[in-house]
Symmetry: C2
Subunit: 408 residues, 2 copies
C-alpha cells in the first residue's frame, strides 16, 4: 500500500477516475476471505462468495404453457379424442394412452407420448366427453421444453454478485435454501469536531448538529455493512489515539471532517504518528479534500465534513471501495445522458456533482449548490455531472446519476 | 370500493396507467392512520407522518466558510492587524476588539463586529504576530449567513416523504432525534399451487421450486413492509378459506398464481364466496391477468404466478399501491429515454416490459423473454418499455426503468 499512497501524494489535483481506480486497487488488495452459509431469508444485501451452478434443469421436465389439452399429433385425424387423464400442476402424469388426449393445466408436466398442447380456447369438449380441435396443430406447440431456461451444471450467478430480491428468487427457483456469502464488511464511523452535537440534545453556543453520522450509518446499513458507531472524536490528540486503537477489528475507519492542514487536526496527527496518511486533492466539487491512509494497518478514509461533500464523496468513492472489499465486481452506478435544463456559466477545474432532478424531461439543478445543503439533496433525485472545463447549456447532454443507484 | 371494482370489471384489456390509477385510488381510500414516534436510527425506510418544520435557523449563526481571519473591513487600512482571539468550530467567540482580527477556522462562528473573513492563503502572519492581507476584501466574503440554508419555521420535508439516508441526515441537521412515521404496512404473502416446493427440500414428480415467495418477501422487506409469510396454499377450498380467515389483521394479502378461470382455482373461489373478486386483463406483457378484490374486507392483490410476470406486475402496480397505502406521494419510478439496441419486429396490443441492460449507451434486451425466466432478470439492469402498437428500431428512443428504482 505504501507505494500507492506515495504515488497518490505526488500528484496535484487528482481526477475522479484516478482516485476511484486507486481505491479499487487498494480494495482488491484487501479482500474479505471469510465465507458464511446463510438461509435465503438472511441473504438479502449480501455478496455471493462462490459461483452458483444449476443443480437441475429448469424447467425440470417439459411442461404446458397453457390450460388446454395434450395429445400426440399423429392421433388427431379430425375424429374427436376421448380424455384419458387430467393433469394438474404438481402432479405426475401417466404416459398418454394412444388415441386419447389429456386435460392439462398451465405448468403441469406434459405426459410421455404427447408432443403437442392445444389451448382450451381452440378446443371444443363435446357432450360425449370427446375433444375436437379447431385449428391446425404444430409439433411441440405450447410445450416449454426441459432445460429451456437453464441446464444443470450451467453457472447462473458469479461470485461477487450482490443478492437482492431477483437474485434470491433465482436461487430459490434452483432449489437452494442456503447460499455461501462473503462476511459483511465492518465499518467504523467517526465524526470529528467539538462543534458537533447529536440530534435531540440542546445546542450550545457555536455548536451544530451532527448530520453526517446519521447519513453514513443509514447508508452503510443499506449497503449491507456491519456498522460500528464510534461517535464524535474530541478535539484532543490522546483521546483520538485511544479511540482509533479501539477500532482494531474493523475493515475500514470512515471519518468525516477534521483531516486538513488546519491547526486543530488531531485525527490527521494520530494517523501520521501510527500509520500513513495521504491527503488527496481531488478534482471534484463538492468534496475536494479526501484522506486515505491507515492506523496500525486498519484502512482509514476521511471524507470532508460538510454534508453535501460527504454525500458526493461517499457515494462516488467510498461506496465502490466498500462493495469491492466484499468482492463485488460491478460497483459503478448506472448513469443516463439527459438534456440539461440549465446553463452552466463558467468552466471549472474540478468535476462538479450538482444536486438535480428530472423535470419535463430535463435535468434541473437546485438553485443553491452551496456545499452545506442537505436540503437540496432531499429535493433532488440524483446528481448531475458537469465535467472539468465544460460549460453545458440548456439542452446539451449531461450525465445524471439517480440516487437510487448510489444509495443501495 | 365496490363501485371501483365493478368499473374495472366492465373494461376489456385495461391500459397499465388505468390499472395504476385504480389501484392508487383504492390505496388513497384506505390510508394507514397510526403514527409512531421512532428514533432516527429506526426511521430508515419509514414514511414521514407529519410535515417536518425547521425548529432553528441553518446555519444557526453566521460562520466562516474558510480557515483564515475574521475582521471588520473598516479596520483594514493597509497596516497589519494584531490577532486578538482564536475561534475554533464549536466554541463561542468574544465580540471582535476594534482594530484587531481573529484567527478563525471553517465552521466557527464569526464574532460580533466582524463583517469579512479572508482565507489564510491570502494573508501573511508576520513575526510580530500581526496579519497583512494581500488582496482587496469584500463585505461578507467567506461568511455563511445565519439561516442561509433554512429558516426556522420553514417546512423542510412534507408528510409522505420516504426516509432514507439523505432525509435522515437532514432531520439530524435540524436536531430531530425522533420522527413521527406512519406505521409499517402489513402484507401477507401467499403462494398457490400443489406443484410448489420450498427451496432446500427434495423435488417430487411434477413439482417445481417456489421462487415468488422469496422474491416477494425480500422485496417487501426492502420497501419497509411488515411481512407475514403465509406459505403455500394447498389446492383445497376449505383449507384456502381457513388460511385467508387467519389473515384478518393484514393490510394486504398478496398472492401469486392460482387465480384464473382454471378449474383448480381455489383462491378465486374463496374470494368469490366471502368477498369480491375482479379479474383484470391488463395490456401488459408479461403479466396480463391481475386480480384485485378483498376477503372479508382485507384487500387482496393476486399476481400472475410465473416469476417474470410477478416481477413486472409487483414492480409496476403492487409496489406503488403499497407505498401509497403508507401515504407516499411520489410512487413513480424514474425512467430514462435511451436508444434501443434492438429491433422490435411486431406491434403488440399489450405494453411489453423487457428485461434489459445498458451496453455501449444502448438498451440491449435479453435474448429469451419467455415469461418463466428470472435468469434474464439477474442479467438485466432494468426494464425497457415497448408501447402498444409500436415497433421501435435500433437507435429509436425507448424508456428504461432501472431496477434500482423499483426494488427500493
Amino acid at each position: 500500500m505504501k507505494a500507492v499512497v506515495e504515488a497518490i501524494q505526488a500528484s496535484a489535483l487528482m481526477p475522479v477516475e484516478q482516485a476511484l481506480d486507486q481505491l479499487l486497487a487498494l480494495a482488491d488488495a484487501a479482500p474479505l476471505r471469510e465465507v458464511q452459509t446463510v438461509a435465503l431469508a438472511e441473504a438479502q444485501g449480501r455478496v455471493l462468495a462462490t459461483d452458483l451452478v444449476a443443480s437441475l434443469d429448469l424447467p425440470p421436465w417439459p411442461n404446458s404453457a397453457m390450460d388446454g389439452y395434450a395429445l400426440r399429433m399423429a392421433d388427431w385425424q379430425g375424429q374427436p379424442l376421448p380424455v384419458s387423464q387430467r393433469i394438474f400442476a404438481g402432479h405426475a402424469p401417466q404416459p398418454l394412452q394412444p388415441g386419447t388426449c389429456a386435460r392439462i393445466f398451465t405448468g403441469a408436466p406434459v405426459p410421455q407420448g404427447a408432443d403437442c398442447v392445444e389451448m382450451q380456447e381452440n378446443a371444443v369438449l363435446g357432450d360425449d366427453g370427446r375433444v375436437t380441435f379447431l385449428q391446425a396443430l404444430s409439433p411441440q406447440q405450447n410445450i416449454r421444453p426441459q432445460g429451456q431456461e437453464t441446464r444443470k451444471g450451467e453457472q447462473v450467478m458469479a461470485a461477487g454478485t450482490r443478492l437482492g430480491p431477483i437474485e434470491l428468487g433465482l436461487a430459490a427457483t434452483l432449489g437452494h435454501g442456503h447460499l455461501d456469502v462473503v462476511r459483511k464488511v465492518r465499518v467504523a464511523v467517526l465524526s470529528t469536531g467539538d462543534e458537533l452535537v447529536e440530534p435531540g440534545l440542546p445546542l450550545g453556543p457555536g455548536q451544530i448538529y451532527n448530520s453526517n453520522r446519521q447519513l453514513l450509518l443509514s447508508w452503510l446499513l443499506r449497503l449491507g455493512c456491519d456498522v460500528v458507531d464510534a461517535g464524535i472524536l474530541p478535539d484532543d490528540l490522546a483521546r483520538t489515539r485511544a479511540c482509533l486503537a479501539d477500532l482494531r477489528d474493523v475493515d475500514l475507519i470512515l471519518s468525516t471532517g477534521g483531516v486538513s492542514v488546519g491547526e486543530a487536526d488531531y485525527l490527521g496527527a494520530a494517523l501520521r504518528e501510527a500509520g500513513e496518511l495521504a491527503l488527496w486533492k481531488l478534482a471534484i466539487k463538492p468534496g475536494k479534500p479526501l484522506t486515505f491512509g491507515h492506523f496500525q494497518g486498519v484502512p482509514v478514509i476521511g471524507l470532508p465534513g460538510n454534508p453535501a461533500s460527504t454525500l458526493v464523496t461517499f457515494g462516488l468513492l467510498a461506496r465502490p471501495y466498500l462493495l469491492r472489499r466484499q468482492g463485488v465486481a460491478a460497483v459503478t452506478p448506472l448513469s443516463f445522458p439527459m438534456p440539461a435544463g440549465f446553463d452552466w456559466p463558467k468552466p471549472g477545474n474540478r468535476r462538479e456533482y450538482l444536486r438535480a432532478r428530472i423535470e419535463q424531461g430535463q435535468v434541473r439543478i437546485y438553485k443553491n449548490q452551496s456545499s452545506g445543503v442537505l436540503r437540496s439533496a432531499v429535493w433532488a433525485e440524483g446528481l448531475v455531472e458537469v465535467l472539468e472545463g465544460t460549460t453545458p447549456k440548456q439542452g446539451d447532454s449531461v450525465r445524471f446519476i439517480p440516487f437510487s443507484e448510489l444509495l443501495g
